[in-house]
Symmetry: C2
Subunit: 137 residues, 2 copies
DNA sequence: CATAATAGCTATAGATACTGGAGGAACACA
DNA sequence: TGTGTTCCTCCAGTATCTATAGCTATTATG
């Protein structure tokens, strides 16, 4: 039997976050002690570790809900789970592509000499004028 | 004189967002028509374009507030503005680095044959077990 | 001028995924 | 029994919008 604090230390998920996951239905409502405190078992720890790992990889709560639901049916085909992961990979690649464009512009803006006054500042002039940018973003 | 709709079309910023920026103090409270509708001038359009451009580049509202404040003093040195931009560049590079790690793991997870059942699914097994990952994240 | 269509107003709530605090109760240990 | 740590619920706040409801103003047409 684990307290919520034990579970938190075991998984690295903060206590309010565990309660939040319960509220969101990702974790089942825990059993309670006589004094109304949550008590967990090892399968709860495994489930929460799964959730944390997926969150660390950027899956949304909704995606995780689906992945957990799928995990409950070991004999079904896993195409749905694979598709969710592929979508997540695409979303990550999209974000990287967008951030690369931003990096390029910010690098350009900041790579000039800046021993200057506000009225001549290349950073501020670039922000005021998107035409100075080399890409869409 | 521009209505809020004109300003929205001219800058690509949605109407509720313009009102939100006013509430946040990024845009000055607009003058009003007899019937209490907001009326803008071209300097408002320039200011809002600046805000939009900076938001598109990922600057926070707080950073933009500082940049706008700096812009109001043309004769001061611009080191503060440059520093804000450099910090933003670093933040973007940080995000890219983290996303690359996620991309690597997600690519590994999804690059197997998946003609399979849930109980053998490499995606689900990987999510259940961080030891299968090749990096921290 | 009357009416209709379009556009604007405020106030409030929702999305996303948590995080923190107040005020009080329970638990573990000596 | 006392003490210190942990836990409880409820509520508010973070960041940046976005959307709805219910109402009013402006503009265009006949
Ligand atoms: Zn500068
Ligand atoms: Zn630009
Ligand atoms: Zn699979
Ligand atoms: Zn991992």
């Amino acid at each position: 039997m684990l307290t919520i604090g034990d579970l938190s230390r075991a998984t690295g998920v903060k206590i309010p976050t565990i309660r939040y996951y319960e509220q969101m239905g990702l974790m089942a409502a825990a059993e309670r002690s006589g004094g109304n405190q949550r008590r967990y078992e090892s399968h709860d720890r495994e489930r929460l570790s799964f959730i944390k790992h997926a969150r660390d990889l950027g899956f949304t709560i909704e995606a995780i809900r689906e992945l957990l639901e799928l995990s409950a049916h070991p004999d079904r085909p896993c195409v749905d789970a694979d598709e969710i992961a592929v979508r997540q990979l695409q979303s990550v690649r999209n974000k990287i592509a967008k951030l690369r464009l931003l990096e390029k512009e910010l690098d350009r803006m900041t790579s000039r000499n800046h021993d200057d006054q506000v009225k001549h500042c290349y950073v501020l002039r670039s922000l005021a004028n998107h035409d100075m940018c080399v890409s869409e973003h």
